[in-house]
């Protein structure tokens, strides 16, 4: 076998070997993941993904929804707004924070539903609980 050919194949073998080694064997390669981010560097997205997927089943279309984290954090809430735009299509998403700046509290109170990711949330005033799972809770504002 000629040298250039041998080098290309040897290089390919090294890269293919490292590709296999990069697989998440320790997490159980054949275990079905709960979210597309389970074994990823962005696995912090997983709880929000699970809660928002569940919320999508119970929050009607055409209502307004605010999604926020518990404890409150403007940076985290900015991202949760973006995830809600993706995973709650057809709803009006009210941002709890935009570009790491928290929205005014009265803005949040306009939302028909409140999705709280993580932690033990205190009941938002005038709301009733419609879903509670380990990843967070969903509240409906009583008008």
């Amino acid at each position: 076998m000629r040298k250039p050919l041998l080098l290309s194949l040897a290089g390919s073998a090294i890269l293919a070997g490292f590709s296999v080694a990069a697989l998440p064997f320790s997490r159980g390669l054949f275990r079905v993941p709960r979210t597309p981010y389970d074994a990823n560097e962005a696995s912090f997205l997983a709880p929000a993904w699970i809660l928002l997927q569940r919320a999508a089943e119970i929050v009607p279309r055409d209502v307004s929804v605010v999604v926020r984290g518990e404890p409150p954090d403007a940076t985290n809430d900015s991202y949760l707004h973006r995830f809600a735009v993706a995973l709650l299509p057809g709803r009006k998403i009210v941002p709890a924070a935009v570009w790491n700046v928290a929205s005014a509290p009265e803005t949040l109170r306009e939302a028909d539903y409140e999705v709280v990711v993580g932690g033990k949330a205190l009941a938002p005033p005038g709301s009733r609980l419609v879903l509670s799972i380990p990843e967070g809770s969903v509240w409906k504002r009583e008008r």
Binding site: G11, S19, L29, A39
Partner: protein, 445 residues
Amino acid sequence: MRAGYLWLASFAILPLVGAPFLGHRAFRGFGILCRTVLAGGVGMVLLSATMTVWALAGWRWGPVLVLASAGVAFALRGLIPKRSDPALPDPRAERRDEGPARTPVWIALVLTAISILAALAATIAARSTSPDLLLFWGPKAQQFASAGTIDTAFLSAPHLEYLHVYYPPLVTNVFAFGAIAAGRFPWGAATLTFPLLLAATAAGLAGILRADAPAPRAAAASALVICALGLAGIASSVAGNAEPFLLFFEILGVALLLTPAARSDAGKLLAGLFLAGAAAAKVEGLPFVLAVVVLFLLLDRSAARPLARSALLLLAPTIVSIGAWLAFGATRRVFFGYKGYGHSLEFHWDHLSAVVSAIGIALWRVGYALPFAVPILVLLATRPKDRRVFLPLGVAAALSVFLVLTYLQSTQDPRLWISWSAARTFSPVTALVALASFCGREEPR
């Protein structure tokens, strides 16, 4: 689950859209698998461009788009002059690759298959999903499918600036097309575009390179490219974002220009369509296309003559495709051209050392920089003497300079930005270096 299968199945339409063009006799030498992949690429470019033109005209997307795109493919076939034959080898020559030469081909195929299967396993195991799928590629595609067009109201809505409204439309259009067919946007299935396009790139690349070299050399070069992209993609989490699309179009477009296909009008138009796919997939696809065309015209004078005609065949699809997109943005007052990350031509040279070290750290985090180091070492060891090597290497150098200058435009410390983007944005560079090893020393056929 059913929506995911339907969404993936909708991709089967793409080769049918491109088939009228690839059905031309000029492309018969590529072999059936390679031609199917090339037809899929052409179909993707034409379908996306047609969807953009439809949106520009204010028409809602529907099944007629497929017919219109196939009609464009048929019209492009009519543009190929008679006797435009890329002088590809007789497919029957495959039979001569018997005996000892078969062993390296099989080794290369096995290594390629391992890389593709690793990419598939990483995607299914949720190891390589890109956050950008959730942040903007998916939401835009989902909304466009629901609206049946490129939704201007959504793109201009307050608080949604992070969607990068000016990003070129191919990925969102193709995702939206599948979502219309499936009834909803399936997030999990969208991640499978990574292994799917890696496999398509492998099949297309091996077939294209085979037109210019014995099977062992074509298979080995293709394996090196795919194994590098596989590891880079797994480690830098590209599943569900635009990189697999960008690389598919970039690598196959440049590969076409390294083979005898570049000597014919048919081959140049095909390469031009793939370059248009790269430009319509990501912003950095446009400087890539410009670098490829300029270097091809400068370096391969005999293949590029007449220069104006070659430039037209290579650039016209990009001009039409990106022109329609920029016209859409301007007429709807959603965006006016591409947006930089700072003032144009204002570079923060004081960030240079931070940028270079951050790029080095980012590449190191991707399999200890092996996807980048191995192709470079193979290239240095093979010491290519063929002039054509300067095309992929020149484009790789131009793209590297463009990326560094882009990072230098940031007014703020760019290290965080580089940490999550550099391994992806530099992946075409490593693929081009790996491809350059194909232009190494000639071996007896």
